[in-house]
C-alpha cells in the first residue's frame, strides 16, 4: 500500500520539493489575479449602486419638503351667499332632504372661492403692496380653494368667522423658494411674475410661508391641476392590490406546480416539454405578458381597463415561472438521504413531501417567493399595455377600480413636461419604491435566517 503513494521513486525528495515550489509561485499569482478581478467586479457593481442611490437621494430629498402658506381665512358672508345649509328636520322625506343638500353644495361649488383665498393672501401681504389678482393667485396651489370650500361644507357654522388654514404653495412658488429655479433668469424665462416673486420672498420672511415635511406625498393622490399636491397614495394602494393578487395566486399555484413537477410527475416527453417551456416563459420579456394580458383578460374576459385585478393577473403570469423554477431548485437540493429515510419508514410520497421535504425547503421557497414578488412590484412595461398608465386621481377601493401603480407613477411623472418641478418628485417616488423593495428583501432575509435557525 505504502509504495503506491510514492509516484516517482526515481526523483529525490529535494528535487520534488523544488518542482512543487516552482509551480507554487504561479499558483499564488493566479489566485491573486482572480481575487483582484473579483474585488474589481464587486467594486464596480457597488460603485454603480452607490452612484444611483446618491443621485436619487440628492434629487429626491427636496421633494419631501413642502412649502405651506399659513392664511387666516375669513368665510365672508357677502361672498358665501347661498343661505343656510338645509337641515333634515325641515323636510318630509330623505329624498327631498338629499336633493336640497345636493343643490346647496352645487351652489357652493359655483361661488368664486378664489376671492376668499385672495383676500386672505392680501391680508398677509404688506399694506399697499401692488399685485394684481392673477399674480397673487399664482402663489397658493390651485387646490387651495377646494380645500377651503370643503371646510365650509363640513362646517357651515364657519360663515362669517376667520380661521387659520394651511394651504400648499404652488409648484412654481415652491420651486422659487427652494431655489430650483435660477433666480437670475430674466422675467421672460420665469414662471412667476416679478410682484409674485417679490411677495413670496416677503411671505417667507414674515413667516406666512414655511417649509415642512411633505406628508402630502403619502396622503394625496396624483394631481395635474395642482402639481404641488400630487402624492403617491393612489399608486401605492394600486400596487398593494396587485401584490395581494400576486401573492394569493402566484404563490400557491407556483409552489403547487413545482411540487407536482418535481416530486410526482412521471418523467416523460410531456413533462420535459413542460419544463423547457417554463424555463422559456421565465425569459419572455415582460412586455409580452402585458400584450397577453390585454388580449386575454381585457378583450376576452372583458375585465376593466387600468384595474389592479388585471395588473395583478399579468404580474402573476410573469412571476409564476420564477417561483416554479426557484421552488423546484430548492426541492432538488433536498438530500436523497432524507427522502429515503421517509420512504423507508413507510411514508407515502405525499407524506414524504409534506412532512419532510417541504419543511426543510420552506425557507428557500419563502425567500424565492418574496424576491419574485419584489420583482413583480417594480415591473412597469406590462402595466402600460393594460392601460394602467392613465391619469387616475383616486384611491382604488377595490381591485376592479381604475388605479395607477408605483413604477407607472414614476414613469408618468418623469414623462411630464413640467420637468423642473417633477424631477424631484419622480426621484421621491423612486425612493418610496426602493424603500418598499428593500423592506420586502429585508423581510425575506429576516424570515430566512429565523426559520433556518429554528430548523
Amino acid at each position: 500500500m505504502a509504495t503506491d503513494i510514492q509516484t516517482s521513486p526515481d526523483k529525490s525528495s529535494s528535487e520534488r520539493t523544488a518542482l512543487i515550489r516552482a509551480g507554487l509561485r504561479r499558483r499564488h499569482l493566479n489566485e491573486q489575479i482572480f481575487r483582484g478581478l473579483g474585488i474589481a467586479a464587486i467594486a464596480i457593481a457597488l460603485g454603480f449602486v452607490a452612484l444611483l442611490f446618491a443621485d436619487v437621494f440628492r434629487k429626491g430629498i427636496p421633494a419631501f419638503v413642502q412649502s405651506n402658506v399659513h392664511l387666516s381665512v375669513t368665510f365672508d358672508a357677502e361672498v358665501i351667499d347661498v343661505g343656510p345649509a338645509p337641515a333634515r328636520g325641515d323636510f318630509a322625506s330623505d329624498a327631498e332632504y338629499t336633493a336640497a343638500s345636493l343643490k346647496w353644495q352645487r351652489d357652493l361649488a359655483l361661488l368664486n372661492w378664489n376671492t376668499i383665498v385672495e383676500a386672505s393672501l392680501r391680508k398677509a401681504a404688506p399694506e399697499g403692496f401692488e399685485i394684481d389678482s392673477r399674480q397673487i393667485q399664482s402663489i397658493p396651489e390651485t387646490n387651495a380653494r377646494h380645500q377651503i370650500r370643503e371646510m365650509f361644507v363640513r362646517d357651515p357654522s364657519l360663515l362669517g368667522q376667520t380661521v387659520e388654514v394651511d394651504v400648499l404653495a404652488s409648484a412654481n412658488a415652491a420651486n422659487w423658494i427652494k431655489g430650483n429655479i435660477n433666480r437670475d433668469l430674466g422675467d421672460a424665462q420665469q414662471q412667476l411674475s416679478p410682484p409674485a416673486r417679490q411677495l413670496i420672498d416677503i411671505f417667507v420672511e414674515n413667516g406666512t410661508i414655511s417649509n415642512g415635511f411633505a406628508w402630502s406625498i403619502f396622503t394625496n393622490v396624483d394631481s395635474r391641476a395642482a402639481p404641488a399636491s400630487a402624492g403617491l397614495l393612489g399608486a401605492f394602494v394600486g400596487t398593494l392590490w396587485m401584490m395581494l393578487i400576486v401573492v394569493v395566486l402566484a404563490v400557491p399555484i407556483g409552489v403547487a406546480a413545482a411540487i407536482y413537477l418535481e416530486e410526482f410527475a412521471p418523467k416523460s416527453r410531456l413533462t420535459d416539454l413542460i419544463e423547457v417551456n417554463i424555463n422559456n416563459l421565465a425569459a419572455v420579456p415582460s412586455i409580452v405578458f402585458g400584450l397577453l394580458g390585454a388580449a386575454v383578460f381585457i378583450n376576452w374576459f372583458h375585465l376593466p381597463i387600468s384595474a389592479p385585478l388585471v395588473g395583478g393577473l399579468v404580474l402573476t403570469l410573469m412571476t409564476l415561472p420564477t417561483i416554479i423554477i426557484a421552488t423546484r431548485g430548492a426541492l432538488m437540493g433536498v438530500s436523497p438521504a432524507l427522502r429515503q429515510a421517509a420512504l423507508g419508514m413507510g411514508a407515502s410520497k405525499t407524506q414524504m413531501v409534506f412532512h419532510h421535504v417541504l419543511p426543510v425547503t420552506f425557507p428557500s421557497i419563502l425567500t424565492a417567493t418574496i424576491l419574485g414578488v419584489a420583482h413583480a412590484l417594480g415591473e412597469t412595461a406590462p402595466l402600460l399595455l393594460i392601460g394602467m398608465k392613465a391619469f387616475v386621481a383616486s384611491v382604488p377601493a377595490t381591485p376592479l377600480d381604475q388605479a395607477a401603480a408605483l413604477p407607472v407613477q414614476i414613469y408618468l411623472w418623469q414623462g411630464n413636461e413640467n420637468r423642473n418641478f417633477f424631477e424631484p418628485r419622480t426621484a421621491a417616488a423612486i425612493m418610496v419604491l426602493l424603500a418598499v423593495m428593500i423592506l420586502l428583501n429585508g423581510v425575506a432575509i429576516y424570515l430566512r435566517s429565523r426559520l433556518e435557525k429554528r430548523a
Binding site: 418523467k267 438521504a337 429515503q340 429515510a341 423507508g344 419508514m345 413507510g346
Partner: protein
Amino acid sequence: MDMLAGKVKKTSLNVDSAMNPTDVLERPIRLTARDVTVHYGAKQALHGISIDIPDRAVTAFIGPSGCGKSTFLRCINRMNDTIEGAKVGGTIKLDGEDIYAPALDVVELRARIGMVFQKPNPFPKSIYDNVAYGPRIHGLARNKADLDEIVVSSLRKAGLFEEVKDRLQEPGTGLSGGQQQRLCIARAIAVGPEVILMDEPCSALDPIATAVIEELIDELRENYTIVIVTHSMQQAARVSQRTAFFHLGNLIEQGPTEDIFTNPVNKQTQDYIMGRIG
C-alpha cells in the same frame, strides 16, 4: 471470467444443498427470494438471486464493492421502486406473500420491513419526533400516552434511552454519529416491523460505536428477522448466523456463518475471505 460465471450458476442453483441440519434454516423461513434480477436501465446488477432468510436470526450479505448487496437489500422492501430506471424480476415472498404483487401496498410492506441506512439519516426534527414519526403515520398509537410509551420503549430497545432521556425535544441531528444510527434503529423498531434491513449500519462509525450497535443487533435478533450488509468479515462473523457471499451480481455461496468462514466451498468465497478480492 467466463469459467467463473459458469461455476457461479451451478453453486447458486443448489441453494438447499448447502443446508446444514443444525442450521438456523430449521427455523421457519421468513423471506424467500427466487431468481431475483435487477436492471438499472440497460445494466443488469443482479443475475437471479435465490435465498431463504430465516426468522429471528441475522443474515449477513458480504461481497466486494459493487456486487449488488445493497441492490438486493433494497428489493426486499421495494426501495428500488423509488430509483428511476430500476426494474426488478423474479419473486420475493414475505411469509409466503408475494411482495411484488400488484395488490400489495408498499406503505404497508415498509411498515413490516424496516430499513436502516449506511449513513445515519435522522429527520431534522426532535429525537422524540424521529421515533414517533412511524407510529404516527401508521396510526399505531391511540393517544399521547401510548405514543410516549412506544417512543421510550423503542429508544430503550435501541440502547439509546439513557443517553437522551433528558433531551428528547432536541434535534436528532445533534447526536453523535453512533447515537444517530441507534436513533435510526429506534425509529425503525418503533413501527414494530417483522424484518429489519441494515445496509452497512456501522460503516460511518468508530469501533466503540460499532461494538455498541453489534451488541444491539445481537439482542434484537430475539425478536426480529435481521438482514445486514457489511464489508467487515469480522462483523459478519460476530453478529450473523447465516452469511451469503455476493460477487458481480451473483449469489456465490450461502450457508451458516461458521461454515462460510471456516470451510468455504467456492474458490471465490475463499479468495474474498482471505482478502484476495475486494
